[in-house]
């Protein structure tokens, strides 16, 4: 079946502009995650959605970052007033949220470049 998809694949924007990144999780997956990956680095957790529960926003680096998940499926990560340090690959993952063994499946990512 289809995996996690993300759009756009690449986004170049000017400092101070707002951007929206989209994630379509695997159908049936109740959990959705956003991560950020800087060049040559590991993945930094941003936010987690699980079903109808309040999202875990503990990883968001500032109040310029927000995310929503509509209808328990598609998610949008919004970065307001982008800064150059926001440049990174933004990865989305989804999972079945199984207790004890919850494998996350990743999308290809959106490469964000802030000029």
């Amino acid at each position: 079946g289809a995996g996690v998809s993300q759009s756009p694949s690449n986004k170049v924007t000017e400092k101070g502009k707002d951007v929206e990144l989209r994630c379509d999780p695997i159908s049936g997956h109740t959990a959705l995650y956003w991560y950020r990956q800087s060049l040559g680095q590991g993945l930094e957790f941003l936010i987690y959605f699980q079903g109808n529960s309040a999202p875990d926003k503990s990883g968001l680096p500032s109040d310029r970052f927000s995310a929503e998940r509509t209808g328990g499926s598609v998610s949008t990560l919004t970065i307001q007033r982008t800064q150059q340090e926001d440049s990174a690959v933004y990865l989305c993952a989804s999972s079945l949220a199984r207790a004890g063994r919850d494998t996350q499946y990743f999308g290809p990512g959106t490469r964000l470049t802030v000029l």
Partner: protein
């Protein structure tokens, strides 16, 4: 703070040889570990996982070993192929309330030499 890390940032092996990628973790409460492979320009791809109640798990050409005594995880790739060249991340699952986040190490770049 507690973290997951990798012993070697780069590893080069001859095609056909076996590869071993190591990972150290420090959170004794972690109960689930995953190895991911990330090729250039792509998202991480699940390779194999292991729960803390096991010390070994085998997949196709890959084996993960878990030593809870010394908090060490390794990924063994048998008969390494050019397509195995990628960055390999280990990740630990930390349960915090209702969230199940993965904490990733910085990764090891595996290069397969012809």
């Amino acid at each position: 703070g507690e973290s997951v890390g990798l012993h070697l940032p780069t590893l080069s092996v001859q095609e056909g040889d076996n590869s071993i990628i190591n990972c150290a973790y420090s959170n004794s409460a972690s109960d689930y570990f995953i190895w991911y492979k990330q090729e250039s320009g792509k998202g991480p791809q699940f390779i194999i996982d292991i729960r803390s109640n096991m010390d070994k798990r085998q997949g196709q050409r890959v084996t993960v070993l878990l030593n809870k005594t010394v908090k060490h995880l390794s990924l063994q790739i048998a008969a390494t192929q050019p397509g195995d060249s990628a960055v390999y991340f280990c990740a630990e699952n930390i349960s915090s309330g209702s969230a199940r986040q993965l904490t990733f190490g910085s990764g090891t770049q595996l290069t397969v030499l012809p």
